[in-house]
């Protein structure tokens, strides 16, 4: 029987048959989970750094690795997309751009792409 249930949270991530608003909904959830995981990781790493200068130097060396920088770019991308998508939700909640929510989403994601590219270049060339 197809009754609503919290156990069906995984259906939030099913993109089949979804429209633009649905894609925005999925993107917001995926980026939120990613950022929450990052926050956990961040706190774990910070606690490791407290063990001494050697641990700090080792960590900084690790973070200069291109794979680590790519992971950081992903965090930045998730933060930007989640934030701009959030602005879209706030605007529509207050009645702005409700009938243009698709265009609003595409516009904000185009802006997100530009900002992400800027940060990607900066982070890999710094």
């Amino acid at each position: 029987m197809e009754k609503p249930s919290p156990d069906k949270f995984w259906t939030w991530f099913n993109p089949v048959g979804r429209e633009t608003g649905g894609w925005a909904f999925i993107l917001n959830r995926v980026t939120a989970l990613g950022l929450t995981f990052y926050l956990y990781l961040h706190l774990v790493i910070l606690s490791q750094l407290a063990t001494g200068p050697q641990a700090y130097d080792q960590f900084v060396a690790l973070m200069r690795n291109p794979i680590s920088i790519s992971a950081e770019v992903l965090v930045v991308a998730a933060g930007i997309m989640h934030g701009l998508n959030g602005i879209r939700i706030v605007l529509t909640t207050f009645g702005f751009g409700v009938t243009r929510q698709k265009q609003l989403f595409y516009g904000l994601m185009a802006l997100a792409l530009v900002i992400i590219l800027f940060f990607t270049v900066r982070m890999f060339t710094a």
């Binding site: 197809e2 609503p4 259906t11 429209e19 633009t20 409700v98």
Partner: protein, 242 residues
């Protein structure tokens, strides 16, 4: 001579206590027939045990809502041509977020009860209806007229809503749209019902309800407007204590 297509109709089957599965029916159709015609053909000529809801066949009763190839559709106005191609497959499933009674028929009782709880009206006075001609331009003599409300209570919006999938208490798009049409100013007692966890705040702006609505009710826009009404009402109550 009309065009003919050969299609496979995959119908979701589930009787009480059974695990859902699909039965396939091969048939020749005119692509300009509607999906409901194909389902009815199965019932009429191939399998009398297929259970589905239908009545008016012209998008007024809202009974024949189903998921066609993963998208919520009112099957009496959805042509086969729009959903598949010659030699293709048409997958038909029951609406989501409602208990399945049998095969494609779902129990819509929760929707009807909630529509009643918010006093959703099936007819509206003409000045309150959203029509191309603004109410202010109506002749006073015309204001006596009433018209059918746009919502046909088909439940497609609730089936498409991701928030409705995980919260059985959520009022849902059609119900909140009904509350918005009533207005909190006119019905202040609705405030408690809609300004709640399972009211307007459960909506997470996926806008899927508006995407599938066959009557252009645009429930998402109405939910956003209802939120504004809630803000306004709460704010004004700060200064006008009862």
């Amino acid at each position: 001579m009309s065009e003919k297509w050969n299609i496979t109709l995959k119908v979701s089957r589930q009787k009480e206590g059974e695990t859902p599965h699909f039965d396939e029916y091969k048939m020749e159709v005119d692509p300009d027939e509607y999906v409901l015609d194909a389902v009815e053909r199965v019932w009429a000529f191939m399998d009398r045990t297929v259970c589905f809801r239908h009545a008016c066949h012209h998008s007024t009763c809202g009974a024949c809502g189903m998921r066609v190839n993963n998208v919520e559709k009112l099957t009496c106005i959805t042509s086969i041509r729009d959903m598949c191609q010659d030699g293709g497959t048409l997958k038909v499933e029951p609406l989501r977020n409602f208990p399945v009674i049998s095969d494609l028929a779902v129990d819509m009782g929760s929707l009807y009860n909630r529509l009643e709880a918010v006093g959703a009206r099936s007819v509206l006075p003409v000045p309150e209806a959203e029509i191309e001609k603004p109410a202010s331009t109506w002749d006073p003599a015309d204001q006596q007229y009433i018209r059918l409300a746009d919502c046909i209570e088909c439940g497609l919006c609730i089936s498409a809503c991701p928030s409705a999938a995980t919260s059985s208490g959520y009022l849902g798009p059609a119900v909140l749209a009904g509350a918005q049409a009533n207005g909190l100013k006119r019905n202040p007692e609705l405030l408690q019902l809609v300004d709640a966890e399972d009211g307007v705040w459960r909506c997470h702006s996926a806008f899927e309800c508006s995407a599938v609505c066959p009557s252009l009710v645009d429930p998402a826009r109405r939910i956003m407007n209802l939120r504004t009404q809630v803000f306004t009402e709460r704010f004004s109550r700060l200064f006008h204590k009862a």
